[in-house]
């Protein structure tokens, strides 16, 4: 299989100008992600994970450095609908039912009604929300809303998924279940996934590579290869290989915020 670079960032810097002076959110980020990789970004709150994801998605412009997505500028890639984005919050439209929310990007893409309905019901099922299509967002729990927003991103069937803590609001059991679903989906479709998380086990279980970030200024502290083989199940979390990688991630996180131990 020939590898193809999907995301390439070089010397990426981003400074926000705020009322309290500049905030250096990203500092000298060098990162290259190949097609079909599952890369997790992990790091303490405020270290720039969301910001990095937003730069890839062309929702934020870097102050300095270069970044390409599919060999194009992020803007060109966005206009070609190269990715599906799952926000940190569900961001459902309150005046649309769950089904209509999932259909929103499909309407924008101009798909016909039959195709929209097919994709909506498929993806509702995938996130265990079959039967909730006619409910409005306020009638669902926060976790269910978040699952609906994942279904909405998957319905687009993008080659690349950018996910910002998609499972952060879910309970452990649902989270495990969706982790397995996502892994299956990824193994079957070979999508490129960039995944932000706060959970070490989640990152180790899902990823082919883990990027550990540290704050002030936001930078890459460590990059850990971690392919635990295909067809892995949640049982793998007990194995020594798993624990070894988890340990290294934890060390990286500690070093990144050692100032807090003082």
């Amino acid at each position: 299989m020939d590898t193809q670079t999907v995301i390439k960032a070089e010397k990426l810097n981003l400074t926000f100008q705020t009322n309290d002076g500049p905030v250096h959110a990203l500092s000298n980020i060098d990162l290259s992600i190949d097609k079909g990789e599952f890369v997790s970004l992990i790091g303490p709150s405020g270290c720039g994970k969301t910001t990095l994801l937003r730069v890839i998605a062309d929702l934020e412009k870097p102050s300095d450095g270069t970044i390409t997505v599919n060999g194009m500028t992020p803007e060109e890639a966005r206009l070609k609908r190269a990715y599906g984005y799952v926000f940190q919050a569900a961001a459902l439209f309150p005046w649309r039912t769950i089904a209509d929310n999932i259909a929103l990007p499909l309407e924008v893409m101009g798909l016909d009604k039959a195709e929209r309905e097919k994709r909506v019901s498929e993806n509702l099922e995938l996130v265990d929300l079959a039967g909730f299509g006619n409910k409005f967002p306020w009638q669902l729990s926060g976790g269910m809303q978040q699952r609906a927003s994942i279904a909405r991103a998957l319905a687009v069937q993008p080659d690349m998924l950018l996910m910002d803590e998609p499972f952060g609001a879910l309970d452990e059991i649902v989270r495990d279940h969706l982790n397995e679903q996502l892994l299956k989906l990824w193994a079957a479709t070979k999508k490129t996934v960039v995944f932000v998380t706060h959970s070490i086990p989640e990152a180790v279980f899902l990823s082919t590579r883990i990027v550990v970030m540290s704050p002030r200024p936001g930078r890459i502290h460590d990059v850990i290869d971690c392919d635990l083989g295909e067809n892995r199940t949640l049982d793998i979390r007990e194995t020594p290989e798993f624990l070894k990688i988890a340990h290294r991630v934890r060390d990286g996180l500690r070093a990144g915020h050692s100032y807090e131990d003082v």
Binding site: A57, D58, R78, R81, Y85, F87, A89, P94, W95
Partner: protein
């Protein structure tokens, strides 16, 4: 029931205060009369007489109620003495002006939201337009239009438009700008067109703002239509009733016209409110939040 009790209490209190005020304000006239006739007058007699004066300074509530009943139920609707007839004249101008004002307000808001040039050039004028007292403008509009042969409904409706476009324009600018940054970002990730963002996000998000501002606008329209009837010495409409009433010192007529206007305003605002609740309900807004 729980909601009716407080309202009822307030209404009862207002009526009581009104009666007291009527006695207090109308009593001097009775004393004057008695003094001129050179006969003493007891307080109980004053009390009685202040309730039934022909041209009281402040008519008693039951006098106004009787006049309202008399001029609505017992008169033929087509009669010039029917309050329903006059209310309809004013209502038609109000509604025409309200519809034109709402359309104008929405068009202006759409332009302002989509073009920063329009935002900078129009907004100051829109605000300035409302700082000019309507009483100063109304006669000019009426006179200018009648000099070119436009009379009747349209000039009054235009004054209503002038007053009602403003709340709608301001409300809709706010409403069309109300979507959260994350929802706008979401549409951006779909590389949605401007028209998609407008119809699928901005317009639905602005609906609650639209109905709130329409409530203000319809009340302003009514004021505009009444004001529009004053300078011409119009022969019909609630404004004409007010004017005629004050010429001839018919305070009972003035007050009943005022009440007719207030009742009409309340009905119009309630109607718009119900329409807004219905639309919001259909759009899936949480029932509690819709109110």
């Amino acid at each position: 029931m729980k909601r009716v009790a407080p309202i009822f209490t307030v209404v009862a209190a207002i009526i009581a205060i009104w009666y007291v005020a009527a006695v207090f304000l109308n009593a001097p006239f009775e004393r004057d009369q008695a003094e001129r006739a050179g006969r003493p007058i007891a307080f109980s007699e004053i009390l009685q007489r202040t309730m039934v004066q022909e041209r009281p300074i402040l008519p008693a509530p039951h006098q106004v109620a009787a006049e309202l009943w008399d001029t609505t139920v017992t008169k033929k609707i087509t009669s010039k003495r029917s309050l329903v007839y006059h209310a309809w004249i004013t209502l038609s101008a109000t509604l025409l002006g309200f519809v034109m004002g709402t359309v104008l307000g929405i068009v202006l808001a759409v332009g302002i939201v989509h073009s920063s040039v329009l935002d900078k050039s129009l907004m100051p004028w829109i605000i300035t337009s409302q700082t000019i007292p309507i009483l100063a403008i109304a006669p000019m509009i009426i006179v200018v239009l009648s000099s070119v042969g436009v009379t009747g409904l349209l000039p009054k409706a235009l004054i209503s438009t002038y007053l009602s476009f403003f709340p709608v324009a301001v409300g809709m600018v706010k409403g069309l700008r109300s979507p959260e940054a994350m929802h706008l970002d979401l549409m951006k990730t779909y590389s949605a067109s401007r028209s998609n963002v407008f119809w699928k996000l901005r317009v639905p998000a602005s609906m609650p703002y639209l109905f709130t501002s329409m409530k203000v606008a319809v009340a302003a329209s009514l004021v505009g239509a009444i004001v529009g009837e004053l300078p011409t010495g119009a022969v019909a409409g609630l404004g004409a009733r007010l004017l005629a009433g004050s010429y001839y010192g018919q305070t009972v007529q003035i007050w009943s016209a005022l009440f007719a206007a207030a009742i009409m305003a309340a009905l119009l605002v309630t109607l718009i409110g119900m329409l807004g609740t219905w639309v919001n309900r259909r759009m899936g807004v949480r029932p509690e939040a819709a109110r």
